[in-house]
């Protein structure tokens, strides 16, 4: 690990000033400390933001508002979240381990960096880590990599489960900097790699995640998360599905569907949602609705299985959520 200056921000003003000055924010540290040790991350200044007042968790008629410093464990376990936003609790509890969920913050969860082994290995090129140095994953070990949203620069999968649920539910990220506040739809927060895979978020220098808001709706209660992976627990997704359905009088009034483990960013599926709207749940409907879910996929040598796995994961989770057995 390279040396760095450590400071503890005792106020929001101090944190934002340090951030504007190039300081790197740290909350749970589960991603940043790991990558600093691998020397993938080399901040010269690290600012501990744990003393900031971003620990509130409110669930009201308008929806959920969760402070960026709330820990994964606490958001997942909140009774109102379990009841009214089950897809969020499930996505969290299928993430990482109990220990990591006790440490990791909600803001940090959105800031997770790819688990691509080439990204983590500083002895080899990686466009995301070092622009212009190539992408060994495209012709290398790519079983876990993305088939959607990729570019010829980067094919790394986005690792967050929570973000998949948040994208499905149209969450909004509240950001703050010395220049003021702004609110961003979460789908706009994440950037596909394109020609600049090193730019992962629509964050401005020194900007801090303050909170995440999730609007309530009839669909949020009937929601759930399915994660398919190489082992039953403590593993990243090969494919995952976040589904929320508003079913009235036996007809799907609206659907929210997003996928994880298959794309470079949490992947919303508006085509699947359109195919579900106004239809009556049936086994045939699920298969039909997901038939085009992987359209545009660009499989690599090792991850072609994800195309069919994505469709099956979605179909199964649609059936599960519609049946109300989540």
């Amino acid at each position: 690990m390279y040396p760095f200056e450590f400071s503890r921000a005792s106020s929001e003003r101090a944190a934002l000033a340090a951030g504007a000055d190039g300081g790197r924010y740290i909350a749970g540290g589960t991603t940043l400390v790991d990558l600093m040790r691998e020397t993938v991350e080399r901040p010269t200044s690290v600012v501990d933001i744990n003393a900031l007042p971003y620990r509130d968790l409110e669930v009201g008629p308008a929806g959920l508002r969760v402070g960026a410093l709330v820990r994964m464990t606490d958001l997942a376990a909140h009774p109102a979240v379990r009841e009214q936003f089950p897809v969020i609790s499930q996505a969290l509890e299928l993430s990482a381990s109990a220990q990591l969920r006790n440490m990791a913050s909600i803001g940090g969860n959105l800031m997770q960096r790819p688990r691509c082994l080439y990204f983590r290995d500083v002895t080899i090129g990686c466009n995301r880590r070092q622009p212009g140095s190539g992408c060994p994953a495209i012709g290398g070990e790519n079983r876990g990599h993305a088939v959607l949203g990729t570019s010829d620069q980067c094919v790394a999968t986005h690792p967050s489960d929570l973000s998949v649920a948040l994208v499905a539910l149209d969450a909004v990220v509240q950001l703050r900097s010395t220049a003021g506040d702004r609110r961003l739809p979460i789908a706009a927060f994440f950037r596909q790699p394109g020609a600049t895979p090193n730019v992962e978020h629509d964050l401005r220098p020194g900007e801090l995640i303050v909170a995440v808001e999730v609007p309530a709706g009839p669909h949020t209660r009937r929601s759930g998360y399915l994660k398919v992976r190489d082992r039953q627990s403590y593993e990243f997704a090969l494919a995952s599905a976040a589904v929320a359905l508003d079913i009235r009088d036996g007809v799907i009034a609206s659907a929210r569907v997003a996928a994880g483990g298959v794309a470079t960013v949490p992947w919303r599926l508006p085509g699947v949602e359109d195919a579900l709207r106004g239809r009556t749940p049936s086994p045939g409907l699920w298969t039909d609705a997901v038939a085009h879910a992987a359209d545009g996929a660009r499989p690599l040598a090792g991850n072609g299985f994800k195309v069919e796995l994505l469709r099956r994961t979605l179909a199964r989770q649609l059936a599960t959520v519609a049946a109300g057995t989540v």
Binding site: M1, P3, F6, G29, T30, V33, R37, Q99, Q232, S233
Partner: protein, 208 residues
């Protein structure tokens, strides 16, 4: 065997502790190498005027009910503070990446991976390590259950398993063997003693 002092401008594998380089145990690569002599934990804790070099800070923690002021480099993980600075080597360094759970400790009552957090972030915190579970000569019920149920083979993951198990029982995630397996999944056992580990946790939870 002495090791040269690490250059501050270079990364170190051991989260850099310059001032006490000669007085610590460390891992180099995959093999364990004892460097210099073992320092008595008390001599570090007793430092009344710890050196405050640039990049250094003094962290005051309560570890197993004992208050300690420990000078550390800002790069020092909580795990390295315990093992290298305080001499509590019961907490193990497995992967050092948050992927195995061998370093599990209770931080302010909650189980965490001590390898993935910086010691300087925890001034004022309360820690419980494997060394702090027993009541004098009487083992913690889960420690005793690990012995009774033969819940380990090589023993390297065991301290992390037991501390994690204590956390799991406190959290109330022991309703079934399947629930225990899920909530203990952050602790890997390469010997594969899982069946007996689950039994030890299950029995202790039932008797608690």
């Amino acid at each position: 065997m002495e090791q040269p002092l690490p250059d501050q401008s270079e990364p170190t594998d051991i989260d850099g502790d310059r001032a006490f380089t000669l007085n610590r145990r460390t891992f180099v690569g995959a093999s364990a190498v004892a460097v210099g002599g073992l320092v008595a934990a008390e001599s570090l804790a007793a430092c009344s005027t710890p050196a405050a070099e640039p990049g250094q800070a003094v962290v005051t923690l309560t570890i197993n009910s004992e208050r300690r002021a420990v000078p550390v480099d800002s790069r020092t993980s909580l795990l390295d503070l315990l093992r290298e600075r305080v001499g509590l080597t019961g907490t193990k360094k497995g992967c050092n990446q948050g992927a195995c759970g061998a370093c599990t400790v209770l931080l302010d009552g909650r189980r965490v991976n001590s390898c993935l957090t910086l010691a300087v972030m925890h001034d004022g915190a309360e820690l419980t390590t494997i060394e702090g579970l027993a009541d004098g000569d009487r083992l913690h019920p889960l420690q005793q259950a690990f012995i009774d149920e033969d819940a380990f083979q090589c023993g390297y993951c065991t301290s992390g398993q037991i501390v994690s198990g204590v956390g799991c029982i406190r959290e109330g995630h022991c309703g079934s063997r399947a629930e225990i397996r899920e909530w203990m999944s952050g602790n890997i056992c390469r010997c594969g003693a899982y069946t007996n580990i689950v039994t030890a946790v299950e029995q202790t939870a039932t008797r608690a």
